[in-house]
């Protein structure tokens, strides 16, 4: 950006970084809102430590929020920031490496004290030497300027310094030509009970803004205007994955004409879904904070048994605990949605970092032959559609369904074209109210395990007169559901459960190629939140004339029926994923294709450049860095993400 001061850039990446106590997530969130209101497309990446209050000033206590916004379709939070706001030495140290050469550093000199430099393990003050010569540096005492701005409100020094993030936000608003009014309103609402804090924060925000406007700083600080993106007409809002899944579940339950029961137990990053749903009682959503993840899923199965749509959600360690109960839901053939917000594993792993390493667990991770459909969301907005789809499959096929999302999707925000509920086809649940068969004597008979054309059994609510019956986890006879361990029956029931789940493939759309040709030299096959970087990398490579396509799979299990043939149309198949190659293995197993892995397990999403390099390597072409030409990240080839996925 700094190297491109005169023309309006198509996209800008800004990273706000500070101590976890500095309020960087709030700053980022508000900047995101103002960016959305300005009509830019955007993607965000909140990146914060696992500790609630990490020791101040330390390297591991750094909390950052990255936003990529622009006048064209934005699908990732951006590889390298153009602007880094560093509220202390630790924030500078941790985030500097990613900053684009020529990018701008805004640093608060007030925090570059000997003590903080020591904590960040700097021998000398980096702002003073020429170690930052590659970048533009704008260093001034934000702490002091904030204290001055809020002086009239008589806050203690500690409280006054808390307004620093608003001062910084004010400056950022000025830099990108954003109105302050929405933030004023937000502060007034947030501090409604402490008006002096609202006033102080507003003063700090205004002071930061005024600093940009009036300070006679020559050099790097320039006002930049990023044009709004040309999006489809309609009503928009920003949405995070956690919100979107919650709303999608509510919509799904309504389309099924069922009350929703949500059983959960707190775990990062899944808790956000519990928190959102807990406020939606009016929408016939009942949330239950259980004593553990096992109780959470078992209560949800109990609710489904009693005629509601049972939903449960967790992350890896909690999903592991739910395994046995998933088997029971498969065995008793009851509908259930299980949301897995994946995080780095195994064990406690990286609670606040993202990974896609629960794919095996989702597809294969239960005792016995226990087939279960799996759906993966590609972005915050897509998670809404996926949640509805999960509800549909659960209700129509009488089966538990796992919906995979991850820490990145859960926390990231993007603009979302607000859908119209009337555009979705309802899939009302049907309950059996009368006996459904005749016995040999011609009398009415109940067969709780009779199957419809989809292979699904009837849903029978306790409380229905005349339909009393017993279900459980023991193998049961076809039709009657009575306990039956006989060899032929177990064979038949195992087959019936498998056929039912395999048959779901009949009700899902065929796999499309979301960018590129239907056959060719190379296809990148992704699933889940790698959508953004894969898509951008493929787009860049195609711009440079390379023959590469992007296939992104939503229905991870059962897979779309045409996927095998589609992949066979390409000479090479490359599967980028944030694990050690799990989906690659599934594809090899299902289609005997020579799928090659591109893996990353650093807790960070893929950078576009990493994938672009892998494309070049696979095609035997020089990497962009080897030929020098950098291709702009954003161009106008694609409609907005909303248009791509109505």
């Amino acid at each position: 950006m700094a190297s491109d001061k005169t023309t309006a850039p198509e996209a800008v990446v800004v990273r706000f970084a500070g101590d976890s106590g500095d309020g960087m997530q709030l700053t980022g969130g508000q900047f995101t809102l103002s960016t959305a209101l300005a009509g830019n497309d955007l993607a965000t990446f909140p990146d914060f430590p696992a500790e609630i209050r990490a020791p101040q000033g330390t390297l591991f206590g750094v909390s950052a929020f990255q936003i990529n916004f622009g006048s064209t379709a934005i699908e990732t939070a951006g590889d390298a920031p153009d602007v880094l706001v560093a509220m202390n030495p630790a924030a500078l140290k941790v985030n500097l490496a990613a900053l684009k050469p020529g990018g701008l550093i805004i640093a608060d000199t007030g925090e570059f004290t000997k003590r903080n430099l020591d904590k960040a393990k700097y021998d000398t003050n980096p702002l003073e030497g020429d170690g930052l010569a590659k970048w533009d540096v704008l260093a001034f005492d934000i702490s002091e300027l904030t204290l001055e701005a809020v002086k009239p409100f008589g806050l203690g020094k500690k409280e006054a310094l808390r307004c620093k993030n608003m001062w910084t936000l004010g400056l950022a608003l000025w830099m990108f030509d954003r109105p302050r009014a929405p933030i004023h309103d937000w502060l007034k609402a947030k501090f409604a009970k402490a008006p002096e804090l609202a006033e102080a924060n507003i003063a700090a925000l205004d002071a930061g803004h005024a600093y940009g406007e009036t300070a006679e700083i020559s050099g790097p600080l320039k006002q930049v205007h990023v044009d709004p993106v040309a999006s489809e007409p309609g009503l928009y809002r920003t949405i995070t994955g956690a919100e979107s899944i919650s709303l999608g579940l509510v919509a799904g339950a309504q389309l099924a004409e069922l009350p929703m029961f949500f059983g959960g137990y707190p775990i990062t990053p899944a808790s956000a879904i519990l928190h959102h749903l807990a406020r939606l009682k009016e929408y016939d959503v009942q949330t239950f904070q259980a004593e553990d993840e096992i109780a959470a899923i078992c209560s949800a199965i109990g609710a489904s048994y009693a005629g509601q749509l049972g939903v449960t959600s967790s992350s890896g360690p909690g999903i592991a605990l739910k395994g046995e109960a998933m088997g029971l839901a498969i065995m008793t053939e009851l509908p259930l949605v299980i949301v897995n917000s994946q995080r780095g594993g195994p064990s406690t792993g990286l609670p606040t970092k993202t990974e896609q390493s629960d794919l095996y667990q989702a597809v294969y991770g239960r005792n016995g032959d226990a087939p279960m459909p799996v759906i993966a969301a590609r972005s915050p907005a897509d998670a809404f559609e996926c949640a509805i789809e999960a509800c549909r499959i659960a209700v129509q096929y009488m089966t538990p369904v796992m919906l995979l999302t991850d820490g990145y999707i859960a926390n990231a925000a993007e603009p979302w074209k607000v859908p119209n509920p009337a555009d979705y086809e309802p899939f009302p649940a049907k309950f059996l109210t009368e006996k459904n068969a005749k016995n040999a004597e011609g009398e009415d008979e109940l067969l709780p395990f009779a199957r419809d054309e989809k292979g699904a059994r009837p849903w029978i609510k306790p409380g229905t007169p005349g339909l009393m019956h017993r279900i459980g986890g023991i193998e049961k006879a076809q039709g009657t559901g009575h306990i039956d361990y006989s060899p032929a029956n177990h064979q038949a029931m195992t087959d019936a459960r498998k056929d039912k789940v395999d048959g779901i493939a009949d009700s899902i759309p065929p796999q499309d190629v979301c960018l590129g040709n239907e056959s060719g030299k190379l296809v990148l096959v992704g699933w889940g939140s790698t959508y953004g970087p894969i898509h951008q990398a493929v787009r860049r490579a195609r711009k440079r004339g390379l023959d590469v396509s992007h296939v992104h799979v939503r229905n991870v299990w059962p897979l779309p029926k045409n996927l095998g043939d589609l992949l066979k149309g390409f000479d090479k198949v490359l599967v980028p994923e944030m694990n050690t190659g799990q989906f690659k293995t599934v594809l090899r197993d299902q289609y005997l294709v020579d799928a090659q892995p591109l893996t990353k397990t650093s807790g960070q999403p893929f950078a576009i450049a990493e994938i672009e390099d892998a494309i070049c390597d696979a095609l035997g072409e020089p990497r962009p860095s080897q030929i020098g030409g950098e291709v702009e990240v954003n161009d106008n080839q694609l409609p907005s993400p909303e248009a791509a996925n109505p």
Binding site: P228, V250, Y283, I294, A295, P462, G472
Partner: protein, 344 residues
């Protein structure tokens, strides 16, 4: 339990066509009969009755009762019951569990269903052994119990289910045993209690832990060791010749002799089912020096969790029409029109 329209049934109506698969002579048979005999007396409706169990010999129970039934997974029945009652508080739910199911693998869930006070009758069949897995010692087995997993006798100290229940906040605690003629009365009291009613039923596993309760539960001759509690009645046993009185010095109870039926003179205490301190003492009385306290030990209802939630849900439903469209469009929004951008 629930208020529901009375339905006339007989014991036969509660029998299923399934072959009962317990060992001949197992105490579970007697409990099944007691339950099937009690249900008609409660005017229970088979269509609105649900039996939910975990895993174990005892947990096979639902297959033999002609109502709705859910045989779930080991130890987790309380969580299923919670979901069922929250989804449909109208259902009359009975939970059947064992000493292994309810006190070992499912101890956590037992604690929480009691603490939350879900409206359900919990029948814990205590045979002091893992029956279904062929006789390993359980969390209620007495020290020294010889089993395949403890050939030299178990070392663990046993847990006391009723003390555990009280400690977890239970508002109804009762005890009975398989062949007792009083068991239906205990079940009726449990059913009458709104909220979680915890009933420990001593059950004879004649294969792996035969007759361990004979000192007080033998079909004949052990009556003198049974203290049948009744609210408002003196705590007498051994045909009224003995009773329980306050041991003020030690802040506990003591056994006193009652001469000529004059229990008042002997200082025998009157049972009060709402006295929680007394309940704690009764469930902890060491058997031997004391009789086995049976019947309704404690019964002091508090609002059931499922009833409170149902009220809240009903209020929320009427509070605001649930328009999904407006929910989706909540928060700050902006409109993009056909041509120019229009940031708000």
């Amino acid at each position: 339990m629930n208020d529901m329209t009375p339905v006339q049934t007989t014991l036969k109506d509660w029998e299923t066509d399934q072959e009962v698969r317990w060992c001949p002579g197992c105490g579970d048979y007697a409990i099944l009969k007691a339950v099937q005999r009690t249900l008609p007396q409660l005017n229970a409706d088979p269509a609105k009755t649900v039996f939910v169990s975990g895993i174990g010999c005892s947990s096979r129970f639902p297959y033999y009762v002609e109502s709705y039934g859910f045989h779930t997974i080991h130890g987790r029945a309380p969580a299923f019951v919670t979901g069922i009652k929250l989804a449909n508080p109208e259902l009359d739910v009975w939970m059947v569990t064992g000493d292994g199911d309810g006190m070992s693998i499912g101890g956590n869930h037992t604690m929480h269903i009691l603490r939350r006070n879900i409206d359900v009758q919990i029948l814990l069949f205590n045979n002091e052994i893992y029956g279904l897995t062929k006789g390993q010692y359980s969390p209620t087995s007495r020290q020294g119990t010889k089993s395949p997993s403890a050939p030299g006798g178990s070392i663990d100290r046993p847990a006391q289910p009723c003390a555990f229940a009280l400690g977890s906040g239970a508002r109804f605690v009762a005890r009975g045993f398989d062949v007792s003629k009083n068991l239906p009365d205990v079940l009726k009291a449990a059913h009458a209690h709104k909220g979680a009613a915890f009933v420990e039923i001593f059950q004879n596993c004649i294969v792996y832990n035969k007759d361990v309760f004979n000192d007080f539960a033998a079909p004949k001759g052990a009556e003198d060791q049974q203290l049948w509690l009744e609210d408002g009645q003196p705590m007498l046993f051994a045909k009224g010749t003995k009773g329980l009185a306050r041991d003020v010095e030690n802040m506990t109870l003591k056994v006193v002799d009652v001469a000529d039926g004059d229990w008042e003179a002997a200082g025998v205490m009157v049972h009060d089912v709402k006295n929680r301190t007394l309940a704690h003492m009764l469930v902890e009385l060491p058997f031997g020096p004391f009789p086995m306290a049976l019947g309704v030990i404690y019964d002091d209802p508090r609002p059931a969790y499922d009833a409170v939630v149902a009220e809240e849900m009903a209020k929320a439903r009427t509070a605001r029409a649930s328009n999904l469209g407006s929910l989706l469009a909540k928060g700050q929004t902006w409109t993009v029109d056909g041509t120019a951008q229009d940031p708000i």
